[in-house]
Subunit: 428 residues, 2 copies
């Protein structure tokens, strides 16, 4: 029986979960793999607060560098978050030849190339299963199980907070702000919530997925990122009537040598599995050229689910796996096609004045921008009132939609800002 | 760039898929992993028939032993099926120290221990991702991603043929025999279909899942196996009304040091993800003590999906992984609790004569067997006709259900054989 000595940097929620998991199931892991995962050191600025797990005082230190540099520590687990100190620590460990496990998607998305190069250069593995989809072993699926596949597309529900908010808005008919406030009170949303609800966290994870599938780091600037802030309950109700649910989707598709990427709230047909992913759960739908459609589902965040992924990586590091950073450096760069040049179907909703030719005016603007209409839904209203009208379109370039929406917004007959969302047809 | 020379035994549907996948994406795999998978030899009794893939005539041989014994061949892929010759070939390769990849669930379920021991003894890996869930990398998820978890339960839709039949019966209101005949015509079901529709194929896969999760081979005799043969469309319609879909489920649960196992058609609540697994797709719902609920979904059979899993295993063998046969030999044996001693909820449907006290008679038999009724559904009928009545019960021992059903079947007031199916509440 070999021991693997684990050094944990950052003793927050996930750090405590990792300690709990290692203490609970260390013996089982040892039986399975031949390596007993032993907690060596835990570094945090606050080593007093009770995290709800039993810790040996001798594990605790406020000096992260001493953990990184300790020759007795075999694997570093970075759970500090952020991209400044965390980056310094991860690089220091890798450069010392010490494998690192991290859940830090922001760091991977913002400074991936530097980290991957450090890992490949020193031969110390960098493992990051916990960075995407919490406990769902989806990165491993892409790397190992689907190694024989070209990845045609990936569609991810990657942010538990957004999915929780959307689920409650849908089930209870509540408004965005109401649910967000409650989610913050319950600890399901951060304060401030921007990273989640503005789509950045989803985008960080999309970058990791795309980088792994296509073999080069992707820049956050290369694609459109839109969150769910201010989404109206009306959109959810109309989408429901039309047979759709609204999900914050990361869409990543291989197309003619380029990679199409976007993060935005999207209409998902109710009969698609992704429409059945509720609450704070995450899922990634992956289409390979050999395997066909696959889906990976589980809790995308939280103390123990994330710990499950971290622990899986620790055991891989213990076994001396080299990680997969070379995968992410296969190409110098990827040609990413941002949303503006992607063809999508759209849902458009606007409030029109009750005038005879108003629909014709809107349709004219759409036609001028090469957008053809698949269907129009207008409910009967009392005379003189605003009339909400929903257009579902055929495929058109997203930049044409942007132009059309601007023009439509300026029409006298249109009240307020028209709403546009993508309709996802999953490759059809 | 290293080459790995692949020897394929059995050039049927999946064999041709493996060749197609290796030829199409071999270069990509080499870039990703550093190993180029080269087709060395293909053995089959029939080396004339066109399988729809381009093969070099020099690859083809009718002599499987020459492939197994060829020192140039690095990995053996066994796709012959069955448990006689296939077993001999797999053992011969392993005993020669040559890694083996197989999709043969029957062989693993019937002769697992012998194979696992041969693999551990010689140090040659035995890989079998393709044996469960076709292209879905679920065994890898259990072994690697979830290594830090005790597996609390697994619920699998593991047979594409059965799920296809159930989906069509449900969607089109057709009878079992009609759909089976069509499925056979379309190639979605074998002739004879027994292995699939009587639940044996599902049970083979359940044995592999349980063996991996709990650390010892499980015997096929240790649990109840029931298929979908003769399932009436009426059951599907009643289940639908009650908010359920009928799926052929493998249920594997850890309970107080024992493993509960059963394979039977079960009512799955419509709001559960497994109820949204349609057509020939497979899925496995896995609950770990750390990660919580996860689900893995994809095509469970077919030429290319199965090939995807085989190829993933070939690349793992190329990298020199030791496989995981030691996992399946951690314990000498598992205490398996067969269906008769498992507590389940049930759906009971029977045709009752229109007599005043008939429901009381049935309820009396149920009560005598410690089965309490959760709800009764009886639709109004014309006087004098048979009345279909559906009982949903609370949890009771399956052996009590068996006794009660026998007694109820003998009541004068009951016409024909009463129907019983499990209701799956997913751990509640």
């Amino acid at each position: 029986m070999k021991e693997v000595n684990v050094g944990i940097l950052g003793f927050g929620t996930v750090g405590a979960g990792v300690v709990e998991g290692l203490l609970k199931n260390g013996e089982l892991m040892a039986q399975r793999t031949g390596f007993f995962p032993k907690i060596g050191q835990i570094a945090d600025l606050d080593i007093q607060t009770d995290r709800g797990v039993q810790v040996d005082p001798s594990w605790m230190t406020t000096d992260a560098l001493s953990v990184i540099d300790d020759p007795e520590i075999d694997v570093i687990v970075e759970l500090i978050g952020g991209i400044t100190i965390a980056k310094e620590f991860v690089l220091r460990a890798l450069n010392n030849g010490k494998p690192v496990v991290t859940a830090n998607k922001a760091l991977l998305a913002e400074a991936g190339r530097e980290l991957f190069e450090a890992s490949v250069k020193s031969g110390a593995g960098l493992y990051f299963e916990a960075s995407v989809g919490g406990g769902i072993p989806v990165l491993r699926a892409l790397r190992d199980g689907l190694v024989g596949n070209q990845i045609k597309s990936m569609y991810g529900i990657l942010n538990g907070t957004c999915n929780y908010i959307l689920t409650r808005m849908e089930r209870e008919g509540l408004d965005f702000d109401t649910v967000l406030a409650e989610a913050q009170k319950l600890g399901y949303a951060e304060t401030p919530p921007d990273l989640d609800i503005d789509g950045l966290d989803t985008a960080h994870k999309a970058v990791v997925l795309a980088s792994l599938a296509y073999g080069a780091p992707v820049s956050m600037d290369a694609f459109t990122i839109e969150g769910i802030r201010g989404l109206s309950h009306r959109e959810i109700a109309y989408a429901d009537e039309l047979g759709y649910r609204i999900k914050l989707l990361a869409v990543i598709r291989s197309a003619a040598g380029e990679v199409e990427m976007r993060v935005e709230p999207s209409l998902v047909p109710k009969n698609h599995l992704l429409a059945a992913v509720h609450d704070s759960f995450n899922a990634v739908f992956v289409e390979g050229d050999i395997v066909g459609d696959t889906l990976y589902y589980g809790r995308g965040a939280g103390r123990l689910p994330t710990a499950s992924a971290v622990i899986g990586d620790v055991m891989e590091a213990a076994a001396g796996g080299a990680g997969c950073c070379n995968w992410l450096l296969r190409h110098d760069s990827l040609a990413v096609r941002g949303a503006e040049d992607i063809s999508i179907r759209c849902y458009l909703r606007m409030s029109l004045k009750d005038q005879p030719d108003v629909i014709a005016k809107v349709a004219h603007v759409l036609g001028k921008n090469d957008i053809s209409i698949a269907s129009i839904i207008q409910k009967e209203q009392n005379a003189g009132e605003q009339v909400p009208v929903v257009f579902l379109t055929h495929k058109a370039l997203e930049k044409n939609f942007a132009a059309a929406m601007e023009e439509i917004g300026m029409l006298d007959a249109v009240d307020g800002k028209p709403v546009r969302m993508a309709i996802e047809d999953f490759g059809e």
